[in-house]
């Protein structure tokens, strides 16, 4: 029975981005319905031309950065979209705050989404926050 996951990324540290991307890619590729809402610092890595250099919070984050074999979180999010039809939705408020539009974001991102819309779409699923 497919489940519905709503993953909210806000903090933007390496550990949280990696864990959220792992959840999204594995769940989506397993047939679950996955929506990722990107806001605050977590959205900045999806602005075109910016590096995905999320800082480590602690020991494990440093290992994620140092080890060569760790799949980059942006690759995992892309795989969630390509292999499992996940939706990556940028927060419209964060876009306004950064004075940018959807055109400034990576092409795999969906339409800018407000909280009212996100909350009504998310009401019958599980919510994971990073």
């Amino acid at each position: 029975m497919p489940q519905k996951f709503n993953i909210v990324c806000v903090t933007g540290t390496r550990e949280k981005m990696q864990m959220a991307a792992m959840f999204a890619s594995v769940a989506a590729a397993t047939g679950d319905e996955v929506t990722v809402f990107l806001s605050m610092n977590a959205l900045t890595y999806f602005v075109k031309g910016r590096a995905a250099d999320a800082p480590a919070e602690g020991e494990l984050g440093a290992l994620l950065i140092a080890e060569k074999g760790v799949p980059p979180f942006k690759t995992l999010f892309q795989q969630a979209v390509e292999l499992g039809d996940a939706k990556l939705l940028p927060c419209s408020m964060a876009l306004d705050l950064m004075k940018i539009t959807k055109e400034d974001l990576d092409s795999e991102l969906g339409p800018p989404t407000g909280l009212t819309r996100f909350l009504s779409d998310a009401e019958d699923g599980q919510l994971l926050t990073f």
Binding site: S25, G31, Q79, L83
Partner: protein, 76 residues
């Protein structure tokens, strides 16, 4: 004619091996076999978990000299 494909995901961490397998599964035909190589301990247990959940067929799963050899047949 079904094929056997070797997917080498050694030296990548979870969920690298699983995502490699899923990527190749999508491209494979029903009846094809994929042999996944992984050095990630967690994947040795978690990949079969995915295979069973999604409904493909686990053919074998053995660790040879530190490398997991996971054989899966695409069932649908």
């Amino acid at each position: 004619m079904s094929e056997t494909k070797l997917v080498d995901a050694r030296d990548t961490f979870c969920p690298g091996p699983l995502m490699e397998l899923i990527t190749h599964m999508k491209q494979a035909s029903v009846g094809d076999t994929i042999e996944l190589l992984s050095t990630d301990e967690g994947s040795g247990a978690d990949v079969p978990e995915w295979v069973n959940k999604v409904g493909h067929e686990m053919l074998s799963n053995e660790k040879i000299e530190g490398v997991w050899h996971i054989k899966v047949r695409k069932a649908k």
